[in-house]
Amino acid sequence: MSPVIEERHETRDSDLGDEELRARLSKTWGTTGGLIGVLSTVDHKVIGIRYAVTAFIFLLAGGVLAIIMRLQLARPDSHLVGAELYNQLFTMHGTTMMFLFGVPVGEAFAIYLVPLMVGTRNIAFPRLNAFSYYVYLFGGLMLWGGFALSIRPDVGWFSYVPLANLDFTPGKGPDYWAQMITFTEVAALAVSVEIIVTVLKQRAPGMTLDRIPLFVWTMLVHSFIIIFAMPAVMLASSMLIMDRLVSTQFFNADAGGDPLLWQHLFWFFGHPEVYIIFLPGTAFVSAIVATFSRRPVFGYLPMVLSLIAIGFLSFGLWVHHMFVTGLPEVGAAFFTASSMAIAIPNGVQIFCWIATLWDGKPVLKAPLIFVLGFFFIFVAGGLSGVMLASVPIDTQTHDTYFVVAHFHYVLIGGTVFPLVAAVYYWFPKVTGRLMDEQIGKWQFALAFIGFNTAFFPMHLLGLYGMPRRVYTYPAEMGWGGLNLLASAGALFFFASFLLMLYNMVISARSGPPSGDNPWDADTLEWATSSPPQPQNFDRIPFVTSGSPLWSQGDDTPVVSGLKVDERELVVTSITEARPDIREESPAPSIWPFLAAFATAVAFIGSIYTPWAITWGSPVVAILLVAWFWPKTTEENA
C-alpha cells in the first residue's frame, strides 16, 4: 500500500518564478556556517571537494616520498637515506598512493559529479557520505601521524607475512597500516553503496538505461568492483592485526595457518584494486573525448559491455601476482589466459575512443591533450602487462624494476593523466573559472617528458637485473646512468604537479569566468550554474536523449511538483527511470562526524588494547542511534 499524503499548503516548484524558486531552494538545501555547520554538511559537492583536496594533499605527500627515493637512487652507493628509512619510504609511498590517493580521488569525482550527471539534488545516503569522508580523513591522519611519531610500517604496501608477523616486525607500524586499511575500506565501501543507489534509483525521469552517461556507467561498475573486492582486504588486514595483537594463528604455518592465504586474500582484492583505480580514469576519458570530439562516444553498447566484462574479469587475475609462489601448472596457465583476456575489453574501449576522435572534430584543449598522453602511456603499460602475464617472462622479471616500470605506466598513465585532464575539464564547473590553457600545455610537456624519462629506463634496469626495494646498488653493476636519468625525469614530473597547483590557485582567484557550459558539453552537470547551487538544479530535468544538452536546444523539458521548503527528490524506477516516489533527503547533521570520530578512537585504541573495541562499540552505537533517530514528525511522512 502506498499512501498519497494530502499536503495542500506546501509550496511546490511550479508555484514560483525562476528567481524566487532558486533563492528558496538554495535556503532549503544550503549548508549553514560556523564550525558545527561545516562539520554537519551533507552536500555531496562540498564532501566531494573535501575528498578531492584531501586526496591531492596525499598525492603530494606520496610524491615527496618518491622524490626522496629517487634522490637516494640517483647514484650508486648513496647514503642519503639508510636502508631502514628507505623501507619505510617505499611502504608509505605505495600505501599512500594506493589507499589514500588512488581510490579516494576516484570516489571524490564520483561523489561530486554522479548526482549532477544523473540530474538529482543530492547523493543517496548523504550522511553516510559525510561519515565516510571523516573516516577516510582520520585513517590518513592516523597513518601519517604515526609516521611523524616514528611509528612507520616498513614491510611494503602489501604487508606480506611472515615478514609482517610480530616475530619479524615487532613495532606498531604494520598495525597502523592494517587499521588504516580498515578506515579507508569502510569509507570506500560506503561511497560505493551510495553511488550504486544514486545511479539505480535517483536518475532524473526519462534517463533510461541507454541514456546513462558513460561516466556514470563506469562509476557504477567501479562501485560494484569495490563491493566485491574490498571485503577481502578488510578481512585479511583484520586477520593480520589479530595475529599480531591477540595471537590468532591465521598465517602461522606451524599452527595450521598459511602465509600464502594472506597473498590470496590480498591479491583477490589487489588485482581488482588496479581496476578500481583505473576505471575512474576511463570515466574521465569517455566524458572528455565526447566533448572535445563534438560527438557522442562511438559504440555506446560495446563500451558498456566492455566495462562490465572488465568488472568480471578483474576478479579472475589475482594469481598472476603469485606466479613465483609455486603454483600448479594448470592454475598458472589459467591465470595467464585470463590476464591476457582482459586486454580485449580494454582494447575495445581504446578503439572506441580513437574512432570517436577519428570521426569527430577534435579540439586540442588541455583536457584532450592529457587524454592523448593517456593513450600513449597506458597502451605502453598494457603491452608490458601482456608480457608479464606470461609465466616465463614474469618469473624472470619478478621483483625487478621492469615490474615497477609496468605498473607506473598503467597506474599513472591510466589514472593520473586522465585525472589531470579531469581537473582542467571540471575545474570551471566547481569554481566558475577556467584554468590557464597555456600553463596547461607547459604542464603537459613537463609531465609527459618527465614521466617517460623517469619510468622508461626502469624497463631496461629491470631487464638488466636491478631488483625492487633495494636502497642502493654498487657502482660496478652499471645501473648508475639510467638511474640518474630516471631521477631527473622524476623531478620534472613532480614539478609538473607544482605547476598545476600554481595554475589552480591563480585560476581560482583570477581565471576568466567560465559560464555554465564552457566546453559546450552534453551531460547534465553542465546544465546548471558554475559552481552549482546547493540544490544542483532549480527544476529537475526530464531527459529525452543520451546527450541532453546537444539535443534539446532552447526547449528544456523539466519535472514539476516537488516541495520547495523540504529536501525532496525524485526516486525513479531502475530501468525506465519512471518517477515513482518523492523521497525526503536527509538534512545536515553533526552525528556522522561524531560517530566517525568515535569510530576512529576505537580503531586506533584497538591497536593498543582489544578492549577499545569493547568499550568503543556501545559509544558508536549510541551515536548511530542519535544519527538515525527522527528529529521532527515531518521526517516520518
Binding site: 499512501p3 534509483k201 598459511d258 514539476s560 518517477p579 523521497e583 514528525t633
Partner: protein, 198 residues
C-alpha cells in the same frame, strides 16, 4: 525555456521493498557482507586443504548449543515474515507486538551464541582452525548483535509518536536484513559444525 512535461506532486513520499532507496542500501550491504562471509569460508577451506596440521587440529564442535541457535534462528523467519506483512499493511498494533517478539528472540539468540562460544573446544590462539572458528562465529555474531540492536531501537521508535508513515518502511527493511542474517548462517553452520565430522 523550461517546460514542465511531468508533474510528480501526486506521488507518494514513501513506499516499500525495492522501490525505495534504503532497500537498495541494505541489499548492497548484504552483498558486501556476504562477500566477506564467502571469503572467510574460502580461507577456512583453503587451509583445510593445504595445511597438513589441519586434520589433526579440526576437532568437531559441540552440537547442542549450535543446534538450539540454528533452530531458533530459522524459526525466527516466521515472526519476521509476519512483521513484514504487518508493516506493508501499516498495522501499528501488530508491528509493535511482533517487534517485541523479535527483540526477545534476538536476545535469546545472543545468549545462545554466548553459550556456543563457551562450549568451543579450541581457543582462537590454539591453532588456525581455532582462529577461523572464532572469527566466523564472531563475524556472524556481530551481525546478530547489530540487527538485534537495530530491532530494539526500532521497537522503541514504534512506541513513540514517530511510529507512523515511513517508519513502516523501515520496519520492512529491518525484516529484510534479518533474512540475510538467517540465510548467511546456514552455510557457516554446515561448514563449522558438520564438515569436520565428514
Amino acid at each position: 525555456m523550461a517546460r514542465s512535461v511531468i508533474d510528480v506532486s501526486g506521488l507518494p513520499t514513501y513506499a516499500f521493498g525495492s522501490r525505495v532507496t534504503p532497500w537498495w542500501g541494505t541489499f548492497s550491504f548484504c552483498l558486501l557482507e556476504g562477500t566477506g562471509f564467502a571469503l572467510g569460508i574460502g580461507g577456512y577451506l583453503y587451509l583445510a586443504v593445504t595445511n597438513t596440521h589441519w586434520a589433526k587440529d579440526a576437532v568437531p564442535l559441540n552440537l547442542v548449543w549450535s543446534a538450539a541457535f540454528t533452530l531458533v534462528l530459522v524459526a525466527s523467519a516466521i515472526p519476521n515474515f509476519l512483521i513484514k506483512r504487518a508493516a506493508l499493511q501499516e498495522n501499528l498494533r501488530s508491528v509493535r507486538l511482533l517487534l517485541l517478539a523479535m527483540s526477545s528472540v534476538g536476545l535469546v539468540l545472543i545468549v545462545l551464541r554466548i553459550m556456543e562460544f563457551s562450549a568451543l573446544p579450541v581457543r582462537w590462539s590454539d591453532n588456525a582452525y581455532g582462529s577461523f572458528i572464532w572469527l566466523l562465529l564472531g563475524l556472524h555474531g556481530v551481525h546478530v548483535l547489530t540487527d538485534v540492536a537495530d530491532t530494539l531501537v526500532l521497537t522503541v521508535l514504534m512506541f513513540t509518536r514517530h511510529g507512523t508513515g515511513k517508519r513502516f518502511s523501515d520496519a520492512e527493511d529491518n525484516a529484510f536484513y534479518w533474512y540475510f542474517v538467517v540465510l548467511s548462517w546456514l552455510p557457516l553452520y554446515a561448514v563449522l559444525y558438520w564438515l569436520p565430522r565428514l
